[in-house]
Symmetry: C2
């Protein structure tokens, strides 16, 4: 069995994830996450919030999954968010064209048109992989789920393929509620939906998935990220354009962040900052940096909204390098598109470094004089004047010395003209956007694959302690009342202190340990004969199975060390525990 | 302005929630939650998990929002989840029939058919509220969002109207991963979708909303809730069937949980437990118990899957009594429906109290003898025997002394008949389900409405401290460098200790306080001249504006007390702080 199969098997058996709706034969691309899977995903999402959102005083919003047609028309998704599909002329099965060709070992670019695909299919004599039939014409298939909002069939809507549009459509209100400060990061943790043609890669390619997205809005005239300095010497793994163009696709080049910027491989300091943060974030999740890289997306491969994009990839057993986050420079593309399509002012404001001064004229009619000389025509005259453009009136005075309203000639003497100097301290502009966007399900899967280990015929899930479904386990050595009672007391005490603890018994201690190891519980405390005499218990390491003796009163101190990321041996040594 | 309008206005201005897609004119029933709103919702959801899930060692899963047609066909939703709609014959506007009649002051039951509505509309001469036109025929409208999953148009799917079906379709796998223990609570916090005909009640009636649902699976032969004892004397507010039937709808009758059970108003101990827990849960959120009640749903009002239902209602300013949670006895309805429709074994198993013993017979042909006497017919004989029912063979021997296979007569002597006694220790059954189901958006709204207060022309959001968007604020009295620097140091220190703190300056202290009060920050620490001399700061109460002096070193102790639910005055008194 491949590592991927083993992980999937463990995930299903122990309740991390499995194909949803299995009792009805399942639906491609829809998975259920079980008890331990949900805990893992929630922990990853909360760590992401810490690292990307809270640390910078950024904010999180929640916009709807359903959007009206106009939003994704404006954003360009209706026109660009589609895959090329081919159908078998015989059995009518439908395939995603690029996947089909790749499975035939044909290397393709990401920006091919339907007719390009038809040519390739003909040239390579590709046939239906199920019935062997001839393939028909290639067509575009919109990979957004469509629906109707409400009872009127013309009110088409989509399930969002990214959370990001919510940050753009709601930008102005968030910007104002947050007191118009830039830069501002607006994050969203929520569902994305992509109506894939034929997804067959487990939780790697889902039709419904959790995203963690951050849109960093900044003033393009002030684009320096203030947090970058501390990370300039950090190594970053780059598969950059130059490597890709010379066909060097298998690995990456490690350089410092500073080098990447100096060589203009990365050309935006916010993007560089979020990329290195993402390297570190995945390391915190147990995925070594050596198994991560940033792949530059070439012109035809980038989403329609992006000036520049890097995919953060992780090496996975079955699928090779797989994207887990995307880093896009979306410029002012989205805000400009919504501004244009909605006609609503969604500009930001910046203070000018130096105030500008502009002259403003006011032309005030002398109503009493006009009434005296023109009688009851004054009403028409005043009404017309109120609708007139000040500059046109001034031009007319300058050119002719008077203005005409219908046939009435009004000399300059009927007006007071005043000049004011107005101080302009701010100007409007459209913010630019850097977007780091993460796929939570893929990351959770990658975490499980990297945590998966075997020891003899036993499985150990070596999750970082702070990602484990329980902080620790408490077991009685034997299912005897006095052991169970003591263990339950210890369990209650730890739960009351806020720890998540598994308390289990009824099987041999070996079986209990084995089950705990499989779901990744980092430490196990066991109550035995000696415990009843001297209030010490054994503490066992999930990964090495080494055991020490620890005073009951020092258990919380030990758990704290492990949750803080200190290794088991080191924690035991620092507390001078006795090896068993 | 009504209280509801004031809350909506504050929510929009300060970033709690607002109608989504406003730049495109908005979409009915779709709202965005902003920075403070998301924090509030997340805090409520986490408290719910503590109270309903973690405390009982229940589990949380995440199943897809999208389900194939078959799931909601089996569950009965395709047939039952619909509203009656009428269209105007003139302008073609569409209305939900019950809402339209209620707005005309016509009291209606919840179980009327389209023709009932047509009669009522005719009798009361109800017309289109927009154009005054005549209304057409009433029809059913399915209030589930429909979509197509993948490229085949026959693969219809729905957006789930409740998370609950996920707990039923995935029950067996969770039950097995959790080692087949009952009772088990399976929870889900996630989206629900209802394609309302014409939603016009803000966040009270959404087309897309967050649900917190718990399905408690239990063995119907063992239906006692082990947690109920501690709550039997708690008062619970009931609007029960008897009151409703005598038309007494405006209030409720307060009784103890024990009384409600003794009087058989509530007839299931798990349901009683979750109901009283819900009373307490909403109290923890700042909604007094006197403004809550449980309304019994009568026969025609209950969802198709429920034997008995109570709605937990909260009294709101504009809308009166509004449902915020539903408590349904779903019996084995859903699991049985999926068992029947899928044909897959989704039974649970129970150990029998006493093992049963059954006799099992085995009839073994003596192949060598048969071959000797019947030659090459042995093949046919053996094949037919292998497909024969043991009991039929035994009957035949009993009756005739032989069996017939085609024309061949086989006497008893060609067989060995063996009797075994089999011990049966367990049996299969379908668990029953009690469901408490909460609407997170409505609850968050109710929390805001109950927290909303005014003091003169100022707004104070008196949220329980543990629900506030920040634990505390830190301000410099004046925007002077030495104050700002000190305040920033204090801010850094508190953030490092894990608190969520607002650090703000640049406006007068009065404005800073006012802004903090509006979003509900319970306490403010202000750095002033005295601080620089003696390391004390002022600490100010959001609700009373009272101020005390506190040593910088005791600030965390003070915050802990406030977060723990202790009142400001009490906390100050217990720490002997000096009143200013």
């Amino acid at each position: 069995m491949s590592r991927a199969d083993k992980v999937a098997s463990l995930a299903r058996r122990r309740g991390f994830f499995w194909p949803a709706y299995e009792i009805y034969g399942g639906v491609g691309g829809l998975y259920a996450w079980g008890p331990y899977g949900v805990v893992l995903k929630n922990k990853i999402a909360n760590l992401w919030r810490e690292v990307f959102v809270y640390k910078h005083d950024f904010v999180e919003i929640q916009s709807p999954d359903i959007a009206p047609y106009v939003v994704f028309k404006a954003s360009g998704h209706v026109d660009s968010f589609k895959d090329v599909m081919v159908s078998c002329r015989e059995c009518n099965r439908k395939y995603r064209a690029d996947t089909l060709l790749k499975e035939h070992g044909i290397e393709i670019r990401e920006d091919l048109s339907p007719s390009d695909y038809e040519d390739l299919i003909r040239e390579n004599n590709v046939r239906c992989p199920v019935c062997g039939g001839k393939l028909g014409n290639a067509t575009y298939f919109t990979t957004m789920f469509q629906t109707i909002i409400g009872p009127y069939s013309e009110n088409k809507g989509f399930l969002r393929p990214e959370t990001a549009q919510g940050m753009f459509t709601e930008f102005k209100r968030v910007y104002e509620a947050m007191r118009k400060r830039l830069p501002i990061g607006i994050a969203q943790v929520g569902k994305g939906f992509r109506n894939e043609i034929s997804p067959r890669q487990g939780v790697i390619r889902l039709r419904e998935f959790d995203m963690m997205e951050l849109e960093l809005f900044y003033d393009p005239s002030d684009d320096e990220c203030p947090y970058l300095d501390d990370y300039l010497d950090e190594p970053i793994n780059m598969l950059h354009k130059e490597m890709i163009e010379r066909g060097d696709l298998s690995g990456y080049e490690t350089m410092t962040v500073k080098d990447a910027l100096d060589r203009k491989i990365i050309d935006n300091s916010w993007m560089a900052y979020f990329m290195i943060l993402s390297h570190i974030f995945l390391e915190m999740l147990g995925i070594p940096r050596t198994r991560q890289r940033f792949r530059e997306k070439l012109a035809g491969e980038r989403a329609h909204y992006a000036r520049k994009t890097f995919d953060q990839e992780v090496y996975l057993d079955r699928w090779g390098w797989v994207e887990v986050s995307g880093h896009a420079d979306r410029t002012d593309y989205d805000l400009s598109a919504h501004l244009k399509n909605s006609g609503v002012d969604i500009y930001a404001e910046r203070r000018l470094k130096e105030a500008r001064y502009v002259k403003e004229y006011e032309v005030r009619p002398r109503v009493r004089d006009i009434k005296r000389d023109f009688g009851d025509k004054v009403g028409v005259i005043m009404s017309r004047l109120s609708k007139s453009d000040v500059n046109k009136l001034l031009d007319s005075f300058k050119r002719d010395g008077y203005i005409l309203i219908d046939d009435i000639r009004l000399d300059k003497k009927y007006f007071d003209i005043e000049v004011k100097v107005k101080k302009i301290e701010s100007e409007k502009f459209i913010p630019h956007v850097i977007e780091p966007s993460f796929g939570l399900d893929r990351i959770a899967y990658a975490v499980l694959e990297y945590a998966y280990n075997e020891k003899g015929d036993r499985i150990i899930l070596s999750l970082p302690a702070y990602l484990a479904p329980y902080d620790a386990a408490v077991y009685p050595l034997l299912s005897k009342d006095e052991f169970i009672e003591y263990a339950r007391g210890l369990y209650d005490e730890l739960v009351k202190s806020g720890y998540k603890i598994l308390f289990d018994y009824g099987d041999s201690i070996g079986k209990l340990y084995a089950r705990g190891d499989e779901i990744g519980i980092p430490i196990a405390f066991t109550v035995d004969y000696k415990t009843l005499e001297d209030d010490t218990v054994t503490v066992r390491d999930r990964d090495t199975w080494v055991q020490y003796r620890i005073d009951k009163g020092r258990i919380q101190e030990f758990i704290e060390k492990i949750l803080g990321g200190i290794g088991f041996e080191e924690a035991a040594a620092s507390m001078k525990l006795e090896l068993i």
